[in-house]
Assembly symmetry: none
DNA sequence: TCATTGAAGTGGTCAGACCACACGATTTAC
DNA sequence: GTAAATCGTGTGGTCTGACCACTTCAATGA
């Protein structure tokens, strides 16, 4: 028979338990969670397992730990994951040009989004680094902006200057005929 | 006063160290990482701290641990980000739209990168989901592909069909005159 | 009244001890 | 000779107890 179920590790179970506890006990943003030692008791698992779970939740930005004080529930917003995922993706051998190209692509995408808006007015646009901050807002895609900001960070751009790579890609994309 | 650096916790440092080690030692997908005990020695930190780091990386899907065997580096495409995010995030319609637009933007960027390549041949291109897997490779930007994979997973692909949003944005971008 | 002290609680870290499991070499049985 | 059972070693999984550094707050003292 298809034997399968391997009991999930304690620390994975602990993550679930802790989250259930948060919900059940009506713990809100900024509130304090039980101490690690107390969690250890209540969940009947070792403190080390509790810690592995808490560290993971901390990395995700769900909780905040303050030495000497305790563990607190954060106001968790999904966009906090964007930088995290960023470090995950950017980790390896990424070449600088790749990062820069991605940034340019996002800017190009931003322009495309603007261009398909009903009230689009090309003349009100310029293409400096600072201008794109507003353009990203105008695009209406908050995720796009977050990604762009993160990418810009990694690209370590000097700012200010308009990017010639953007010009290049924009002219390149014109050769694409998608019918 | 410039109050500042509190040394990051050992486990956060361990995450960085481990990732550096992976890069330095040329550990590839499927390869085995040093054992927890060895990592503990090499990094001069306790095994529990090593474990907290490894658990976090495991949660993200970067590594895979097999009891009795060891810890292995996962292939990037097996990342756990989507299910992970899914358990933490509420997805409204607007967010889905944003994600989908990002995906389309990345595809458009891919096309732009291809278009500026010397040997570009538009006729060899089609625009299905599967085709973009190869197009992403052809673009030469591995980072772009990674992002696209994640976003595609998250967007929950419709599959083989070409996307009309891509057509829309492509036609939109033509209205941009960047001189 | 106000500063000092110190106890208690908390997260941060470590070391050691088991356990369960997987693998491979050795030994054993056929 | 070959196949099966055995056992040693290494691994991750977990628990415990012990410190440390830090924060808070009540008790203490000037």
């Amino acid at each position: 028979m298809m034997e399968s179920k391997r009991p999930p590790s304690k620390f994975v179970a602990a993550i679930s338990h802790i989250r259930e506890m948060i919900k059940a006990d009506r713990i809100g943003s900024g509130d304090k969670l039980p101490s690690e030692r107390e969690l250890s008791e209540r969940l009947s698992i070792g403190r080390s397992s509790v810690r592995e779970a808490l560290r993971a939740l901390e990395l995700l930005g769900m909780i905040e730990t303050r030495r000497g004080e305790g563990t607190y529930l954060r106001d968790f917003k999904d966009h906090q994951l964007v930088p995290l995922i960023g470090t995950f993706i950017f980790n390896d051998d990424q070449k600088k040009e790749h990062v820069h190209d991605i940034k340019t692509i996002l800017e190009m995408g931003c322009l495309a989004l603007l261009a398909v808006q009903p009230d689009f007015n090309q003349h009100s646009i310029n293409y400096t680094e600072t201008a794109f901050h507003e353009l990203m807002d105008a695009s209406g895609n908050s995720l796009l902006k977050k990604m762009w900001i993160i990418i810009s960070d990694y690209a370590g751009d000097s700012g200010g200057q308009a990017d010639e790579r953007l010009t290049e890609l924009l002219s390149g994309i014109r050769h694409i005929n998608h019918s």
